[in-house]
């Protein structure tokens, strides 16, 4: 055993150890049986030095320890432990409420997802179904997707070239209105960048425009 520890124990036995060290050693002493045995021998040595019979009362500690084994904790300790439990309960109560609320919310979301899943799945299946399938005609007008519209639309430049090239076979009024309509539709469909490019003039287009 550590000599310094034994020296501390001897000083503690005589009430001559600083309080901070005393508290640490008391913790160790309450758990370390070997240290307790040494502590008990210091008491016996004191009794012997004073001329007493060291066997007198030597078994009291053992008897008391056995008797107290089934004894409940002192009332103060019980109260402290209960208070600690109460504090924990107070701390846990709002946490438990929040946890229950979160659980209910999570369950609700899961329930909604599960219940709405067949409908959305049917929609997906319907939208991805082959065109040959006997599908009823939609009740309302369906706007085609932008990509498809762009793919099907003839480029405005080509159309304009076509109109200009064949303008000799059309009347002036219809030619103007057709050109105006083309210009309007092109600016609405293509957007500003193309408009800007058209306004600045493309050398290739000009070359194409020339007869």
């Amino acid at each position: 055993m550590n000599e310094e520890l034994d020296s501390q124990l001897s000083a503690m036995f005589d009430d001559e150890l600083p309080q901070a060290e005393c508290e640490l050693l008391a913790l160790r002493l309450s758990r370390d049986r070997a240290l307790q045995a040494r502590w008990g021998r210091y008491a016996a040595i004191g009794a012997a030095v004073r001329g007493g019979d060291i066997r007198l009362g030597g078994m009291v500690a053992h008897e008391v320890s056995s008797a107290l084994a089934s004894e409940p904790l002192p009332a103060d300790a019980r109260e402290r432990l209960q208070a600690r439990g109460l504090t924990l309960a107070r701390w846990w109560r709002p946490m438990a409420g929040a946890a229950v609320a979160a659980s209910v919310a999570a369950l609700s979301i899961l329930w909604l997802q599960q219940n709405s899943l067949p409908a959305s799945a049917a929609l997906v299946a319907r939208s991805t179904a082959p065109s040959t399938a006997p599908v009823e005609a939609p009740a309302s007008y369906v706007v085609p997707r932008a990509v498809e519209a762009r793919a099907m639309r003839m480029p405005a430049t080509e159309l304009a070239n076509y109109v200009v090239a064949h303008s000799q076979f059309s009347t002036p009024v219809s030619r103007d209105s057709l050109l105006s309509a083309l210009m309007a539709s092109e600016s609405a469909a293509v957007g500003a960048p193309e408009q800007a490019a058209g306004a600045a003039g493309d050398p290739d287009h000009h070359a194409d425009d020339s007869p």
Binding site: D6, D14, S30, A43, I45, A48, G57, V60
Partner: protein, 202 residues
């Protein structure tokens, strides 16, 4: 150094639910309390029973101990009251220990314990222990012997011992510790040898 600080450290541990700390308190005071009770009852076995009862009462009442007085003062008060109550109760009892009938199991057991405490081998062992302690004390260097005597017989504090021996407090602490260790070594030899011989005799 505040008095009773080590006892209070242990008491606080017991009050917070640490029973092991109470074992340490009982180990420290079992000899003193039993010797105290022996002023009221002459029978060693009865004195040990009363001491045991006093410690159990102290444990149950420890929640009320606030440290206004020293722990041992409080404990001694409990022991004295327990001893007085035991004497009163025995005096009121129609059964006398000394003139007890042989058909009472409890008194028979008590008589057996009385005999055990006063067996020849027990008395021999007691004498041997006393002789050993005296021899161990005599064998100690004078500074160690003086320190342990001033502490255990006169009850002086380390500071008072340091003043009387004209040395630092740390030196006093070391001397007392070394004196205890030397006596402890001799006592352990006697206890081991003595108990072995007692078993042979039994």
């Amino acid at each position: 150094m505040s008095a009773d600080v080590s006892d209070l450290s242990l008491v606080r541990r017991v009050q917070s639910g640490d029973k092991g700390a109470f074992d340490a308190l009982v180990l420290k005071y079992q000899h003193k309390v039993t010797k105290l009770v022996m002023r009221y009852v002459r029978n060693p076995a009865e004195a040990e029973d009363i001491a045991q009862e006093a410690f159990i009462k102290a444990y149950r009442a420890l929640a009320q101990f606030r440290g206004d007085s020293a722990f041992y003062t409080w404990l001694y008060r409990i022991a004295i009251n327990t001893a007085k109550n035991a004497v009163v109760s025995r005096d009121r009892s129609p059964v006398d220990y000394d003139l007890d009938t042989q058909n009472s199991d409890e008194s028979y057991e008590l008589q057996g314990r009385m005999k055990d405490a006063e067996t020849p081998e027990g008395l021999v062992l007691t004498d041997e222990i006393r002789t050993t302690v005296n021899a161990a004390m005599d064998a100690l260097p004078e500074d160690l012997r003086t320190a342990i005597v001033l502490r255990e017989l006169e009850g002086l504090s380390y500071e008072e011992i340091a003043a009387s021996m004209d040395c630092p407090v740390g030196t006093v602490r070391s001397r007392i510790f070394r004196a205890r260790e030397a006596i402890d070594r001799r006592l352990r030899e006697v206890f081991e040898g003595g108990l072995g011989r007692a078993e042979e005799l039994g």
